[in-house]
């Protein structure tokens, strides 16, 4: 595959997997938690690097999963102690992220894991770091990681579809029916962490948030069915990835920034023109209703 092809494939995979899990994310009202986890995974990755002195995918994923779980646990712990939910999130992720940055600045120096990279990702490097996969030949490591994560996340969502649905909609009833709500919560946090770090190499820590939240929010405005929302969300993620890459190529600017902005543009369009929940449609319906009253 060509250089550009790999980049587009990587970006599409990011959009797809983030979109999928993002749909559940916003329905569970965990957007800010995702914000927190995306920042905290930096610490997980840094520690994984410092311990193993390698930047291999497996270690990073482990470090990220651990950091994500730690974040969820700490936030829960603080909140149980009476700190407001939002404040708990704010304290935990900023502190963990700050520690991560300090570690990079002091211990890691200018190694491959420099701060800007950690933040912004550098998708242009992806095609160069390859690994050998039996049957497929040389493929970029990031692509392999993303494929695996996509399979795992997609599989978990499909397998436990109704459990995700009920724990997102009515956790009290779910608990009363015997479904392990707390377990699913922490499982979900782990899935987010793993997704975040898989996308990390491509779009960086902060932009993952855009990919997780915005396509899902856009999809939310187009449909009233969960299954459709999941698929649409993934599709929008892919669209944003393509659009962002195109824009970055034309404007000669940061690819990850462009992709994040592209998700915003998609959302804006949905916000305005979606026939079901868009602004224009609502105005028209209000007009029609008012018209009927008058006549």
């Amino acid at each position: 595959m060509s250089y550009d092809g790999w980049i587009l494939l990587t970006a599409s995979l990011v959009g797809l997997v983030c979109g999928l899990i993002g749909a559940l994310l916003i329905l569970r009202r965990m957007a800010m938690m995702a914000d927190a986890i995306s920042h905290s995974v930096l610490l997980g990755i840094v520690i994984a690097y410092l311990v193993t002195r390698e930047l291999s995918g497996a270690h990073m994923l482990l470090g990220a999963a651990a950091a994500g779980l730690l974040t969820a646990v700490l936030v829960q712990w603080l909140h149980a102690r009476g700190v407001q939910q939002e404040a708990s999130i704010g304290i935990v992720f900023t502190t963990l992220f700050a520690i991560g940055v300090v570690l990079i600045a002091t211990q890691v120096g200018n190694a491959h894991l420099d701060v800007q990279h950690a933040l912004m990702g550098e998708i242009t490097f992806i095609p160069w770091e390859t690994t050998r996969v039996p049957g497929l030949g040389e493929i970029p490591e990031a692509v392999l990681t993303l494929l695996i994560v996509l399979l795992v996340v997609g599989g978990l969502i499909a397998a436990f579809y109704k459990e995700w649905k009920i724990t997102s909609f009515d956790p009290a009833l779910a608990a009363a029916l015997g479904i392990p709500v707390a377990f699913m919560h922490y499982l979900f946090m782990t899935m987010i962490s793993v997704t975040a770090v898989a996308a990390f190499d491509a779009v960086g820590a902060v932009m993952v948030i855009a990919m997780l939240i915005t396509p899902a929010a856009a999809a939310y405005l187009w449909t009233d069915r969960l299954s459709v929302m999941l698929l649409l969300s993934g599709l929008f993620g892919v669209l944003a990835a393509f659009a962002g890459y195109a824009a970055a190529w034309v404007l000669d600017t940061s690819i990850s920034g462009s992709m994040a902005f592209a998700t915003g543009v998609l959302f804006l369009i949905s916000f305005l023109i979606s026939p079901r929940h868009g602004l224009a449609a609502r105005r028209l319906r209000a007009h029609a209703a008012a018209g009927r009253l008058k006549s």
Binding site: L27, R29, A159, F160, Y161, K162, E163, K165, I166, S168, F169, D170, A172, L173, A174, A175, A176, L177, G178, I179, Y220, T223, D224, R225, L226, V228, M229
Partner: protein
Amino acid sequence: MEPVLQVRGLHAAYRRTKVLDHVTFDVMPGTLTAIIGPNGAGKSTLLKTMLDLHPRLGGEVRFFGTAYRNAKLKVGYVPQRGSVDWDFPTDALDVVLMGLYGRIGWFRRPGRRHRELALEALDKMGMADFAKRQISELSGGQQQRVFLARALVQDADLYLLDEPLAGVDAATERAIMEMLKTLRAAGKTVMVVHHDLQTVEDYFDHVLMLNRTVIAHGPTTEIFTQDTIARTYGGWLRRKERVTG
């Protein structure tokens, strides 16, 4: 006859205030009981604590002679309507189907039989026509009926409802009470956290009067008196015991 529900010395706190203090009562099968008391008296907390949804500081609860976790399929819980996000992308039939998830089990999808059961339950609540309607488009009363259908489909023996009549229209209120009376006639047991003192005598054969502890419990005609009402609702604001002291 064995009681379907036995509560002994139940203690619970909310934040730093004790809301349940030495709560003790038995519920006999085939009764329709109202749980009443002032706001903050622990009514919702009582249900949640019994169902292990809220931490218990002490005491014992037995459902059908055993612990709740062994009796889950026999107990139907209808939480408050406000506890749920009604913008969730799903329709009425789907919500009712959720009541069967406990029975469908892991890795399996709801089948045709399940869908039929769900549709029947909706029909019993007069909501069959709304099966495919997005829940955000339903009125408060309609949402409450869907919730009740979801409880019905569980085919439980004991139903616990948290303020099912709050904020619903008159027709819905009638429909719900009709359904609860039908359940009682079928030998089921129903307990309802109720907010309206005016209708207690019309709707319920038993009443549990709660103000952190049980003030009175028994047949409505016997114990629902001026005296017990005054004792339940008076003086609440003056007493607020702190757990930590």
